[in-house]
Amino acid sequence: MDLAYTPRQQAFRQEVREWLAAHVPAERLVTLERKDGFDQHVAWERELASGNWGMVTWPSEYGGRGLDLIEWLIFEEEYWAAGAPLRANQNGIFLLGPTIMEFGSDEQKARFLPPMAKGEVIWAQAWSEPGAGSDMAAIKTTARRDGDHYVINGQKTWSSRASFADWGFGLFRTEEGSQRHKGLSFLLFDLNAPGITRRPIRQLHGDPGFAELFFDEVRVPVENRIAGEGEGWKVAMATAGFERGLMLRSPGRFQATAARLMALLRETADRASPGLREEVVRLWMGAQAYAYNTYQVAARIMAGGSIGAEASLNKIFWSELDRAMHRAAMHLLGPAAELQTLPDGSANEWLEGYIFSLSGPIYAGSNEIQRNITAERLLGLPRVGAG
């Protein structure tokens, strides 16, 4: 164990820090759940890509820097410390990108990865259906084979980024009459293809962050299928693993939140209840623990290991930590918590963040599902019918 950064790592940190200091927008962007804000965030993706910072771990041939996970963590730390914007490109670079690298053909890699890295094509995910949320194997939307195309009919929902994104990926039933995990394929599709209707879903805060997608005889070329026909479940599970695992939520984000929360506590220390005070310090400790854990997992992966069902532990932890941090901030703010603009004139990011944090224990596989996975796969407890 060596918990000191190498001179090269320190130099890299310095390079990231300087680039971000020069490029991070001074003004906070409009929320990416609105069209104007989405466009701002896409512009930021392209700015990042111009500096070759889109995804530092990707091979250089696809627009990355070929760096290792430690350097990725350093990049993320600096990114969040600098208060840089959320990533409109997240579904692409963290989920679909690694999926294509693992399961895609060389042609698919060459076709899809570089524009993804450059922020030229923004991706939406399309997993859930009205009847298939936690129970994703209940997917009904079909992709019927017709020569060198699939013809998609059905509906997806909670498709994040889909109101404004360019392309989507998801699971479709390519074998007629197949059940559950069988007969599914992983397809990529152009969100502007004929036959696709997007209906933005108004979220509880009023903005359309995700959308319903209606497919009416939508033709998708067979070459847009990742891995073999009927192998979709396996591919999707790997993608979901990326999502829950290392990549979706780098510790820097939560550590930055924790640091802001500690600053808020300092400002409000004379009226914070003692329990809230200790809660905030505990949450800061939690964010630190999450970082150490991630460094440990990263070191294991760099040494040839992998992240399996432990990803569920991760997902439970960060999502409940994030909610608890924002809840604590709401309590610290007290009477100002409800205000969209704080008395000092700044936007109430804590309120916005609290609302967003409520989705954490739900998306990417609800925490109930994660606790089942933890119990069954990590602890070895039995699966029983409905239990």
């Binding site: 009847g131 509880l204 914070a272 610290l332 009477p335």
Partner: protein, 310 residues
Amino acid sequence: MDFRLPPESVELAEAVREYLAGTHGPDVLRRLDAGGNRDLRIWQGLVEMGLTGLLVPESEGGLGMTLLGGALIARECGRACLAEPLVDTALVAVPWLIARGETDDLAVIAAGEKLVALPHAVNPWVADGEGEELASVDPLRNLVAAPEDAGDDPLLLDLGALMSAAQLVGLAEAMLDQAVAYAQVREQFGHAIGGFQAIKHKLADVAVALEFVRPVLWRAAQAMDDGLTSAPLHVSHAKYAATDAAYLAAESAIQVHGAMGYTYEVDLHFWMKRAWALAGAWGDRNFHYHRIEDAALGGAHPLGPQHTFA
């Protein structure tokens, strides 16, 4: 010693519950949110039920009820997510005016013809007052910036806190009901999700929390009616516990709703937003905690089973 709620207050509360359930459903909240926020017809309905005069003496044309009776109605206002400024005017301002002997406007208030928006130093805003508008997370809350010279009258604070606690309890009850209703019909893995222990136990925890907040609320209202010197402690206990119960109910309810709960389409968000707003109103969780600690740990309030009703 009789801890039963007064039957006539319970009957009125039930009538109000039925009335609001019938006339003030989520569709009304959506319509108000789309434009206007307030609706004179809704207000007139409340006036006709006598609610604006709930605490006004019968001599002034009111119903002359107690604060406990008022708290029962405030709870129903929370349950229905009522946005009209009934609670602030009829259940907070009226008893405060009466306590101060300022009775001139009571008849007009009872008739529904005057709203009273009282500022207080503990609130950075005035609800349904006049002045610079403030945007709340709750789209149906009309807030304006507080005047700089707002007073800090302790009775007014206790009245506001008590009635906020009552609304929070009603909001939490409604959120639990919504989550239960959704869990009964939403199916995953071939079963209604309400059949899974993870969902059952999450909602049972909300039920437990509420079961042990309600009597605290009634006890606080009665302590104010009785003029006990310990009333502020009991009000703070009610507000603190109701705040936590409402947060718990909201977080549990949205989790049970899954992604649906995160949409505007599902009704839940109106109730969550009101709960987050009222949690900070009339003294936040910190404020009320400190009052409790000062009294109970500080020694002013006697501890032990023999002092249950001190």
